[in-house]
């Protein structure tokens, strides 16, 4: 049994201790508050077979990095394929082929060397220097949303930090980048949920069918946007992808381009929205962290560090899949070929052998970049600089403009999305007021 408790160990606050026993990551209580489970795994059985999930959970930092640094033995492509629409894949694929223009495999989840060809193209779009030029525009979008949120919250009205703020924020930013001028944020949110549910492992058949239909809508929307740019390119990322010339002189196939635009729409908003939801949660529940942010609001260096520590302590992506291509040994555990692994980034970020007192929010860590919230290796998050920028501006503008940020419900009632892939708040009821 694993329990959450705020006990002390060597002077550090910890998430709790317990025995692993038959505990499973699929347990909703563990999905909501996983740190004690992660801790038990790291101590007792670091590469642990979760029978209910049918996957090996990789919990220690060093083993996580070993996996991520060896994309040949630990295949992203095969791990992803086995995770995708798990249990219903053929039916899922058929729906997309019939109603959604086709089934387009995610080229970003390929293995090297095929992956390298496409990755080089995307690297250029998201350099830290290019993203820095976007800061004024992103700031305008965020300030507008904060002002709207403050208006909505006037007179102690409850607002939703996730659905009224974090989600529309990241959707507005990525749509501007992609060049999608007219969009229905609610719809894009539904599409995002439908896509990410395919790697979440918690959908039943009815949900799969509903999600597949939503992904069909998404693909038909994307294909329309792409077609309108085939003849007349514009100054936006969809045009860039439709007309891209790769380093080897090739172009993207139509299927590759659809999968990339789809990946940009979804990955470009979903995990960053989760991070901004987590930011609000932390600010509402940890006054010392809110104070720290207030003191750092005009200090660019400390703001950057604040964002990095937030990503370490509350990483949006909790676990992504890999598959062994050969028999191997990981962290002392013998693994057969085709072993399906869930790499627990969130547990790596919480590993006390790497991060002193990992449950402490400490932006002054000397090794702050060591966290694996963005992964590491060839599949490291390509949009990291954009995500950091959005979170930084949101943090800075929120703390400057908003006061008395509080949860509107008891913390125990907060719900998380049912998925092993991310740690995402379903909603975050808040009260707040304008800072005077």
């Amino acid at each position: 049994m694993v329990s959450e408790a705020n006990t002390q160990s060597g002077g550090c606050p910890v998430a709790g201790h317990g025995k692993l026993g038959g505990a499973s990551l699929t347990d909703p209580a563990i999905l909501a508050h996983p740190n004690a489970f992660f801790h038990s795994m790291r101590q007792e059985d670091p590469v642990h077979y979760d029978e209910k999930l049918g996957m090996w959970l990789v919990s220690r930092y060093d083993d996580i990095v070993t996996v991520l640094r060896d994309p040949i033995i630990y295949s992203d492509k095969h791990g992803y394929a086995a995770q995708y629409a798990s249990g219903f894949f053929e039916e899922f694929k058929k729906i997309l082929e019939t109603e959604g223009g086709g089934f387009f495999p995610d080229v970003i989840k390929d293995d090297p060397p095929a992956h390298t060809r496409v990755r080089r193209l995307l690297d250029k779009a998201f350099t830290a220097h290019r993203v820095a030029t976007l800061e004024p525009g992103i700031t305008r979008v965020i300030v507008e949303l904060i002002e709207k949120l403050a208006d909505q919250a006037a007179g102690d009205k409850v607002v939703d930090g996730v659905n009224d703020f974090a989600v529309p924020l990241t959707i507005a930013v990525i749509c501007e980048q992609l060049g999608i001028a007219q969009f229905n944020a609610k719809k894009i949110q539904e599409w995002s949920g439908a896509v990410t549910a395919q790697i979440g492992r918690m959908q039943d058949r009815d949900q799969m069918v509903a999600n597949a239909r939503l992904i069909c809508e998404l693909q038909n929307f994307i294909i329309g946007e792409m077609k309108s740019r085939q003849e007349s390119p514009r100054e936006d990322m969809i045009s860039d992808l439709v007309h891209a010339k790769l380093e080897d002189g090739s172009t993207l196939s139509f299927a590759e381009a659809v999968s990339l635009v789809r990946a940009m729409v979804i990955a470009g908003n979903d995990t960053t929205a989760t991070a901004i939801g987590n930011l609000l949660y932390v600010l509402a529940t940890r006054p010392e962290v809110a104070q720290l942010l207030k003191d750092s609001a005009d200090d660019e260096r400390m703001l950057n560090r604040f964002v990095e520590e937030l990503l370490r302590i509350e990483p949006p992506v909790r676990g992504l899949a890999k598959m062994t291509t050969t028999e191997t040994v990981l962290g002392g555990q013998k693994l057969p070929a085709h072993a399906h692994l869930l790499v627990l980034y969130a547990s790596g970020n919480d590993d006390e052998t790497q991060f002193n007192c990992p449950r402490n929010f400490d932006p002054n860590r000397g090794n702050i970049a060591k966290h694996v919230a963005f992964g590491t290796g060839v599949h490291r998050c390509v949009g990291a600089s954009l995500a950091r920028m959005e979170i930084k501006v949101a943090a800075r503008e929120l703390i400057k403009r908003i006061d008395k940020l509080k949860l509107a419900i008891p913390v125990e009632q907060i719900k998380y999305l049912p998925t092993v892939a991310t740690h995402s708040l379903e909603s975050l009821p808040l009260t707040l007021s304008r800072r005077r």
């Binding site: 690297d123 260096r301 970049a369 060591k370 290796g377």
Partner: protein
């Protein structure tokens, strides 16, 4: 011979001497292509990951120059191993004036 010379001193002490570096390539690309241990370049040269961190030999510091604000911010994330002569070598393009350059690869964080 038109190639330029650059030496990477790996953390294990092994010196990798590259004699066919092409102007215009970044030093990260050059190091990664030649399998220099510790030059990883996960972000592909986007100045976002600090996995191409090097220390610049004193006599080369003036010609190489200092990191800009964005690079300095990324270097700050690895402050434990950051020094005054730290650079992310994805941000340095090989050029004629750097022929003979010597860089020490920073250790793993």
């Amino acid at each position: 011979m038109s190639g330029l010379k650059v030496t990477f001193v790996q953390d294990d002490g092994v010196e990798k001497v590259i004699e066919d570096a092409t102007p215009g390539q970044s030093l990260m690309e050059i190091g990664r292509f030649h399998g220099v241990a510790g030059i990883v370049g996960d972000c592909g040269g986007g100045c976002a990951c600090a996995t191409c961190h090097v220390y610049v030999d004193e006599k080369w510091q003036a010609v190489i120059g200092k990191p800009d604000d964005i690079e300095a911010a990324t270097l700050d994330m690895v402050s434990e191993i950051c020094r005054d002569n730290s650079r992310l070598c994805c941000q340095i393009q090989m050029r004629k004036e750097l022929d003979g350059l010597r860089l020490v690869v920073a250790p793993n964080l």
